[in-house]
Structure formats: structure tokens, C-alpha cells
């Protein structure tokens, strides 16, 4: 189980969100937008702290709320960012929001990545599509504490160049000498001079050493399946591999029952799990 304690949401009224305001909207891709928001109560904003990998339930009262990974790093004190893919009812309504609009937020929830246990280790990050959202938070955390970690390699895959998020970050990550960053798209496209090929294959071709390395993978289930197989071939043990799971959620606090994977709840025991935690329950 991840070791990061849950903190932040008012334990005395866990189902009641706090009003917040959108301060900025970033159009990432045709279907993904990032929303930066601040709690209306400056006291709550000031005390807000979380670990990368933790989640929030952001919503529009009257429409509903949905679960999203926090995609900004803990060091960002002036806003909290969620990167939202438009898929259904609530996410479509969220995509209509502009700076200045009101939302309501319950965060942080769940357990984040056990980064304190990863000190001194090499970190391999592999994110597919919107799965990059929690990994952006993690990567920015790692860069904030760069000296605590060994080699950092990052693989980020999407279907087409237009589906890659975080344009500004990517340019910066590509330039940095102290991390190896590779973005890849599934198949060749005119105007794309970067890597092509599905993410698990590109990652395996890089032959990342398993020794003293933690692998963190997030993305669609198919990608996770192939990536796990690739990591196994590369010699990674279950305890070295971390992922975030996704299940339909409502309460986010271990009560409404629906997000269970075996005896564990994705909302409170996860969403971060090591493969060793999950056994055959994945």
C-alpha cells in the first residue's frame, strides 16, 4: 500500500465540497483541457497540501462531480490543476467552464505515490493519453527534488501529435539534460519528426535497466497490459511497478462501494497501487 497519508479534506464533512473558482483554462488537445482553480476560502487554499497521485472530485453543483488526478505539483501553491478529458455528462459541462466560473471541489483524496520510499532510486515514468495527468504532478515533484532521485526516464505516448498534452512542459522536459524524455505517437504522421510506435514498445526498445528502478505507468487498460508485459521481460519485479487504477467513483471516501478491486477501494486504498499490492486482482 502506498504510504502517503491522506490529508486535507475536512474529515468531518467529507461529502461536502468547498467552493472554488477557475482562474485559467488551458486547451491541451481537442478533447482535453486543463483547469486551474483556487479555493474561495484563502485559509483552505493556504493549508492545501497533497502528494502527487492524489485525486480530487471536482464538480459543478447542479450538474455533478467527477474524479480527476491532480496534475499540478505540490510545490504549486497558487492553484490546483486538473486535466480533464471530455467523455460524458459532467466532463462536457466542465469543458464549458471559463476563467472566473465557480466550481466545487473535494480534495485531496486517496493515496499518492510513495515518493519518500523512492529516494535514491531511478524512476521510469510511462504515461499514455490522459494517464499523463497524475504523472505530470509526479514528474514536476521529482524535478523539484531532483537530487533525491537517480536516473529519470519519461515516456509519454498518445495516438496523434494533436493528442499530446502539456506542450509547454514538453519543450522544457525535452531540453533538460538531467532527464531522458521521449514523446511518441502511435503511427507516423506528416509534420511529426519525433518517435513513432506504441508506448510499451518504445519503452522496451529503450531497455531501461530494472536494477534499483521504480516503474510508474498510467494510461488506458490496453497500454497498461502491454507495458506490464514489457516490464516483466525487462526484469522488473511486481514490487517495483506502480500504477494508478481507474474505476467508476461517486463518494471518493470508501463508502458508496462501487470502486472496489477485490477487497480494496480505488478511492481510499488507491488510486496508486504497486503490482505487489494488487496480486491477481487487477
Amino acid at each position: 500500500m502506498s504510504t502517503v497519508p491522506r490529508k486535507g479534506i475536512k474529515a468531518t464533512k467529507p461529502l461536502v465540497p468547498e467552493p472554488a473558482t477557475i482562474i485559467d483554462v488551458i486547451v491541451e488537445t481537442p478533447s482535453i483541457r486543463s483547469f486551474r482553480l483556487v479555493f474561495d476560502d484563502p485559509g483552505i487554499m493556504k493549508e492545501f497540501s497533497f502528494a502527487p497521485g492524489q485525486i480530487g472530485l471536482m464538480g459543478i453543483p447542479g450538474v455533478g462531480e467527477s474524479t480527476f488526478a491532480i496534475s499540478s505539483p505540490p510545490s504549486r501553491r497558487d492553484y490546483i490543476q486538473f486535466s480533464v478529458m471530455k467523455t460524458g455528462f459532467v466532463t462536457s459541462a466542465i469543458h464549458e467552464l471559463k476563467a472566473g466560473d465557480a466550481v466545487a471541489l473535494r480534495a485531496p483524496l486517496g493515496c499518492g505515490f510513495p515518493v519518500d520510499n523512492w529516494k535514491g532510486k531511478n524512476i521510469l515514468i510511462a504515461g499514455g493519453g490522459i494517464g499523463m495527468a497524475p504523472l505530470r504532478s509526479l514528474l514536476l515533484y521529482i524535478l523539484d527534488h531532483r537530487h533525491q532521485f537517480g536516473d529519470i526516464s519519461v515516456f509519454y505516448g498518445a495516438r496523434t501529435p494533436a493528442d499530446l498534452c502539456f506542450v509547454g512542459d514538453r519543450a522544457h522536459w525535452e531540453e533538460r539534460e538531467d532527464i531522458a524524455f521521449i514523446a511518441t505517437i502511435d503511427s507516423g504522421q506528416p509534420g511529426w519528426d519525433g518517435r513513432t510506435g506504441v508506448l510499451p514498445r518504445v519503452m522496451e526498445a529503450g531497455r531501461p535497466p530494472a536494477e534499483n528502478t521504480v516503474a510508474v505507468i498510467c494510461g488506458p487498460p490496453v497500454m497498461i497490459g502491454y507495458a506490464l508485459a514489457a516490464l516483466a521481460r525487462l526484469g522488473f519485479a511486481e514490487g517495483q511497478i506502480f500504477t494508478t487504477l481507474e474505476r467508476k467513483m461517486k463518494c471518493g471516501i470508501g463508502l458508496c462501494g462501487r470502486c472496489n478491486v477485490g477487497s480494496k477501494y480505488v478511492c481510499t486504498d488507491g488510486p496508486v497501487f504497486s503490482l505487489a499490492d494488487l496480486g491477481n486482482e487487477i
Binding site: 461529502l15 470508501g254 462501494g257 462501487r258
Partner: protein, 337 residues
């Protein structure tokens, strides 16, 4: 032990009514012609022979409950949201609960009042639970669906009750379990008695030893679960009727242009949409997956996480299932302990 004569029951219920709504099992003829816990008023007939279709859990986890109301308002240039949580003002008392229903309240407490972070202490549940008095009527007879005797204590379970009534000639022996119960039993409506407690119901039994593991051993045999869930309509009655089932959905409703409420309402893991994700992916697509999960939650996961079964053997899911599914058949089919 204390004793209350039959003819004092009305006076007791009136006394309770002074500061609480009293819920008692009654035949509700106008709607479904079945026994339900309903608000009691003087003169109403209480039905204790037939089993109520729904348990008393609705008093702590109502079928529909407003979590908070919200209002949009303009603050200068900006739209702001104001959120207000209703305060629970009313106390409730339940009369003639069954021991299996009362015991299930303690099971729910373990979850809803936990607060360790594996689940959160739920303020709405806490308020209702704290405002509830439970008077249980011990069962001296049972029907063919009951199987509480499989569990420790069986019909003699006292957990979750404040006061337990045992039917004896001319009235009820009253055993106080909590401070609230002791206060009630001290009322002048009660008197001292040296009558003996009556023998309680002995129900059908199933073998619960190692059940959690036996179930997990069979988990991957999906054909087994298809056979056990055969005919299941995914109607969800078994979950709604269960005193220990507690899953809920959350939804918003606008009550005017600018204001509305967020509600939670009972849900059921037997529904297809319960786990249906917006991508169209459903981790539990068949009734067999859902039935397996429901029983695994009750007999494997909840015991693993909380050290007790999420079932008290009340038999409601057996009595009311339109497809004739019987959880005891599954437990038997999972083999001996």
C-alpha cells in the same frame, strides 16, 4: 429483569413520541400492501409477526437524503457558490426492530463512523445514528428464510439495540443494553419481574467457517457464478432490502434557476450501470460478476477489512428475490469449512 405489561405499550410509544418520530412495523395497505417500518400514530396497529420488507437501515441511511443545498449568487463580477448542510433536528425511535436489523446497524457503524481514512466518518450518518433509539423485539419464531442462528448469538444478538423486549405472558420482559435503554426501562411504565426469558427462535443454519477463503477459492470459476446467479434480473431488491448493504449513488437536482441540492440515494451493486464507466467499459458486465461481487463483499472482503460479515442472516434477500436466488445455496455449494 424489568417487565412492561402489554397495555402499557401505547403509553410507552406516546412517551417516545414526545421528542422523536416513532417507527414501527405496520402493514402499509395503500401502496404495496406489505409490512414496512412507518411512523406510528396512536391507534395504528403494529405488525410483528410478518417480516418487514425493508430493514430499519433507512433511519440512518435514508433511501434518498439531501447532503447539502447550494445556491449560486453574484459577488461583484463573479459567480459564487454557497453551500449549506441541513442540520438534523429530529430524533427517531424504532420499535420492534429485529435483532438481525439492529446488529446490522453496528456493522454499518464500523464503516460509516470509522474515520481512519480507509473510510471517512460520515457526518450525515453520524447525525442520524446519534439521534436513533432502537427497541428490539426478540424473535421467538422465525420463517424458512431466516438463518441468523448461523452467526454468533443468532436471535439473541444484542448489538445495536438500546432495549430488547422478550415476549412473555401478559407483556414483555425488557433488557436494557445501553444507557438510553436503562433510562427507558426505569420509567414507571415498567415494573420488576422474575419471569424467565422465553426460548428464542432457532433458524436454519449454514456453515460459515472459512467461508471468506472458500469463496475466493471459487472466485475465478465464472461458470459456477453463472449457475448461482441464473435467472437474476439485476433488479437490486436484494441490496435495497439488506440491512447491511449500503451502497449509494450521488446526484444533483436544481430546484430553481440558481439553487438546488446534492442528494444521495440507495444504489445496488446488482445494477449494470453501477460500475459502468463513461468509456463504455464495465468491469462487472454480467449478473454473474455482480452477484459474485455482492457475495464476495459480504463474506470475503468486508470480513478481511473489518473483521465481520456484511450479513446477519435476516433472509430478506431470499424472501424477496423474484428469481428465487438463495444465498444459503451458494454458501453450501462452496463446500464445507
Amino acid at each position: 429483569m424489568r417487565f412492561i405489561p402489554e397495555e402499557n405499550i401505547t403509553a410507552l410509544l406516546l412517551r417516545l413520541s414526545e421528542n422523536a418520530t416513532v417507527w414501527a412495523p405496520q402493514v402499509v395497505r395503500d401502496t404495496v400492501n406489505t409490512v414496512l417500518f412507518a411512523p406510528w400514530r396512536e391507534g395504528a396497529e403494529i405488525e410483528t409477526g410478518l417480516y418487514s420488507a425493508l430493514p430499519v437501515k433507512g433511519l440512518v441511511l435514508p433511501a434518498t437524503e439531501r447532503l447539502f443545498s447550494f445556491r449560486y449568487h453574484r459577488a461583484g463580477e463573479r459567480e459564487k457558490i454557497e453551500i449549506e448542510v441541513d442540520e438534523l433536528r429530529e430524533r427517531a425511535a424504532v420499535f420492534a426492530a429485529r435483532a438481525c436489523d439492529a446488529k446490522a446497524l453496528v456493522t454499518l457503524d464500523a464503516l460509516f463512523l470509522d474515520g481512519s481514512g480507509r473510510s471517512y466518518n460520515d457526518q450525515h450518518y453520524r447525525a442520524r445514528r446519534g439521534a436513533l433509539t432502537v427497541i428490539t423485539l426478540a424473535c421467538t419464531s422465525c420463517d424458512s428464510a431466516c438463518f441468523c442462528s448461523s452467526f454468533e448469538d443468532g436471535a439473541a444478538a444484542t448489538a445495536g439495540s438500546d432495549l430488547i423486549f422478550y415476549p412473555v405472558s401478559g407483556g414483555f420482559l425488557a433488557e436494557a443494553v445501553s444507557a438510553t435503554g436503562r433510562e427507558l426501562a426505569a420509567l414507571d411504565l415498567f415494573q420488576e419481574s422474575n419471569l424467565e426469558k422465553p426460548p428464542l427462535a432457532e433458524t436454519a443454519k449454514v456453515e460459515l467457517a472459512r467461508l471468506g477463503q472458500r469463496l475466493l477459492d471459487k472466485f475465478d470459476d465464472i461458470d459456477f457464478w453463472r449457475r448461482t446467479a441464473e435467472g437474476c434480473l439485476s433488479c437490486g431488491y436484494c441490496s435495497y432490502a439488506c440491512p447491511a448493504c449500503h451502497c449509494f449513488n450521488i446526484f444533483d437536482e436544481m430546484e430553481s434557476d440558481r439553487a438546488g441540492g446534492r442528494y444521495r440515494c440507495w444504489d445496488a451493486c446488482m445494477f449494470y450501470a453501477y460500475t459502468l464507466e463513461s468509456s463504455g467499459h464495465n468491469p462487472r458486465p454480467e449478473a454473474a460478476h455482480r452477484y459474485r461481487n455482492r457475495l464476495a463483499h459480504k463474506f470475503s472482503y468486508f470480513p478481511l477489512n473489518r473483521g465481520e460479515f456484511l450479513c446477519t442472516g435476516c433472509g430478506r434477500c431470499i424472501r424477496g428475490c423474484p428469481a428465487g436466488r438463495d444465498v444459503r445455496d451458494v454458501i453450501k455449494a462452496l463446500g464445507a469449512g
